[in-house]
């Protein structure tokens, strides 16, 4: 399986669990719990007990933020997409003109198999197992330049402090240029 950053695939994506939590029980309807603290206290009381949670999920197209995947983990990092039809005309135009930093417009011509005009949500990163991805068909792909712009927005939004990394890379670059 060869995956690349910027590609869009269908995937099984759960909604982020939030209150009320639903706990699966073998013979009956799920037990609803209104707060996280009740579950934490209960499970800590029960030693190494675990519950099975009922979490709603959906088949959604996702954009791979990285094509890097280690076969020992099978984990992938992706962004959820937002359909532009859910926005007002004004909002939609704002996204299409790349004036809305949190939504990265996916050019329709590059995503011929994506049924609806969409944007990658910078605010909604998800970790996915590769088995949750339908890899039969890529729905399209951002090019390298677009991916760089998207990653730049992602790093800015989440306020990753890359100073140390940048300084180290600049020094390494200087060193290699001198050695050339």
């Amino acid at each position: 399986m060869s995956l690349a950053a910027g590609e869009v695939y269908w995937a099984i994506v759960p909604y982020t669990p939030a209150t009320p939590f639903k706990i699966h029980v073998a013979d009956g309807a799920p037990v609803e719990v209104p707060t996280a603290s009740q579950i934490v206290d209960g499970l800590r009381k029960g030693g190494d007990a675990e519950f099975e949670f009922v979490v709603r999920a959906k088949a959604r197209p996702v954009l791979l933020l990285s094509g890097h995947s280690d076969p020992r983990t099978g984990d992938l990092f992706a962004l959820r997409l937002h359909r532009l039809e859910k926005l007002s005309d004004q909002e939609r135009q704002r996204v299409e003109e790349h004036r809305e930093p949190s939504l990265f417009h996916l050019p329709p011509e590059r995503f011929p198999d994506l049924a609806e005009d969409s944007a990658a949500m910078v605010t909604a990163p998800i970790r996915l197992h590769e088995t949750a991805l339908d890899t039969r068909n890529s729905l399209g792909r951002l090019d390298r330049k677009e991916m760089r712009a998207l990653v730049e927005r992602f790093v800015s939004y989440w306020q990753f402090d890359l100073r140390q990394l940048l300084v180290a890379q600049i020094r390494e670059l200087q060193h290699r240029r001198k050695a050339r």
Partner: protein, 94 residues
């Protein structure tokens, strides 16, 4: 991906000769539409070298065996699954 080159034979095109440090910008219709940029081979070699260097610097680091093992452990259920309603309610104080 580093900047790559696509050779064309000099007999197939007519080009001016750029000086080192000079970029000849070939415009189509106006200065806003640049069709090509012609560089001296030395400048192109430097640009290509920089591109390769940058590409090397952004190479991903591999996951160590320890990291992979820690990931596997974190993702493996390790406790007893409680799924009978009475026990669930008792633990949650419901």
């Amino acid at each position: 991906m580093a900047l790559h080159s696509s050779p064309i034979k000099s007999n197939d095109v007519r080009l001016p000769e750029p000086q080192p440090g000079e970029a000849l910008v070939v415009e189509r219709y106006s200065a806003e539409h640049v069709k090509a940029v012609i560089l001296h081979p030395d400048d192109f070699a430097e640009l290509q070298g920089d591109s390769e260097l940058l590409d090397d610097l952004t190479a991903a680091s591999d996951l160590s065996d320890l990291g992979a093992r820690a990931h596997r452990i974190a993702e493996s259920p390790e406790g007893e699954l409680i799924d009978d309603e009475a026990s669930v309610r008792r633990l949650l104080g419901l």
